[in-house]
Symmetry: C2
Subunit: 280 residues, 2 copies
């Protein structure tokens, strides 16, 4: 069994994979890949493997490419979700103190997420870009007066020390990950279902879809629309609801939106998957 | 008159601001700021200025922080939209050819967006991170065998030459920008309106909101929901529709969703703004 994630080791993708394996008791080999599309393709074409991908509010704006890849992969299903708090720390070699730091390295996005801390506490420090937060820790540990902005696991892996915790400007920054496989999960009684669909080009079609859920008391937890990559002016809708696709109400609603409303479920004529709701 | 954009000069934010000024005949001083929240705050607190911010599908995943800032700024309104094709080029000093390139520099996100091109055409080149695409061009022009990945304007500003055009993996990558001011735009007959709202916590409330539009033949062009930053479990809905908030149908629908359905429009009890639809 393999679990693919967005490398290098030490980034939030690996942390999400480790957390998921820990809480489900899954034993597997962790394999870093270079992009979200590669992870989705590996699951789509492979057996006995899962993939962990960021889907909402992630560092790096991966949402769009991740969902595009999933929508192009008929064998991939969503089998779990995981939500991770994004916490950035200032990391340096053992023995250094905040007043010794003259250069701060990280992925430019992490640097810009911590701008208030840097302006207040290290106004004189030079900022230097790295290809990833983990590369930043490697470089900082070899640089006189160097510190990196990175997640805790990068410090653990590489032997850095945390000089300041949780230094990002916006607290409570969460990233939602999906765990992908060739099958989704069995009903547990507390599930969510994700689907993607297009609707016929007539007024009110989207409202009709939503009504099929609301009239059955099914709670929608996410709605999103975005332009289809296939046809200009066509929209793809992404929808999450509470419940499993095999539960009575959702099963009837799903039949109604395809047969009565004419919605087309992407990519394979069925929901993207049902899975246990993550409750921290 | 000032127009704020996300600096440094030469990035897509400046290009969007220039394009907008060109097509509307606006004469103003372009002022680079360091973050989207800073741009929104400058417009919220200032007179005689506009702000240009990326809102959808942007390099850098700016969507969430931009919208959060707008929702916290009661004086800011959306007065125009602009859509820009994101085209990345390989840029180097005059005289260099593709086979001379040994190191490629850029913002890590631009590097990862061009991975297929790089693997195919420059498999031996080293990748180096920069704080921005513009900084990458500056550095590349001073580095033997150096090239940068950046937009065309960065090459123009700094005297670089384009060695390969449109090298991003995914073609047709568009970013939508909003132009913010203290007032929105007057009706033109071909407008859009953006609103953000919360709904009372009862089943079907969101569907009721959408129905007030669809029953009046008003086309919804974007729907999105996301967790509110204020209260856990509360969702904020973002909705764009065709038409101006002062047009008859939209005006009635807006009254119905607040008075009958109980929706609360954010941040100031009115739509975020109405503005001419961008048609390229």
């Amino acid at each position: 069994m393999k679990v693919y994630y967005l490398g290098p080791p030490g980034t939030f993708g690996e942390q999400a994979a480790l957390d998921y394996m820990h809480r489900t008791g899954l034993v597997a080999e962790l394999v870093p890949l270079q992009s979200h599309p590669e992870i989705v393709a590996a699951v789509d074409g492979g057996m006995d493997c899962y993939g962990v991908v960021a889907i909402e509010n992630s560092l790096g704006g991966a949402v769009i490419e991740t969902m595009d890849s999933i929508l192009a992969s008929a064998n991939v299903m969503v089998r779990a979700e995981h939500v991770l708090a994004i916490e950035q720390h200032l990391i340096a070699a053992p023995g250094l103190a905040l007043e010794n730091i003259t250069v701060v390295m990280s992925h430019p996005q992490a640097l810009s997420q911590c701008r208030i801390f840097l302006e207040k506490n290290l106004p004189g420090a030079r900022l230097e870009a790295s290809l990833s937060t983990v590369a930043a820790v490697e470089e900082a540990l070899q640089t006189a007066g160097g510190a990196a902005i990175a997640p805790q696991r990068a410090a653990e892996l590489l032997g850095g020390v945390i000089l300041a915790r949780n230094i990002q400007d916006v607290d409570n920054n969460m990233t939602r990950f999906l765990i992908l496989g060739r099958e989704d999960a069995a009903p547990t009684g507390d599930d969510k279902t994700s689907l993607a669909f297009t609707v016929p080009d007539k007024p009110g079609a989207v409202v009709s879809v939503m009504q099929e859920f609301s009239r059955r008391g099914i709670n929608l937890t996410r709605i999103e629309s975005r332009p289809s990559r296939q046809r200009l002016g066509e929209y793809v809708f992404l929808l999450d609801f509470q419940g499993h696709r095999l539960d009575d109400g959702p099963a009837t609603a799903l039949r109604a939106i395809t047969e009565d409303v004419g919605a087309r479920l992407l990519p394979a004529g069925r929901p993207l998957g049902s899975y246990p709701r993550f409750d921290g």
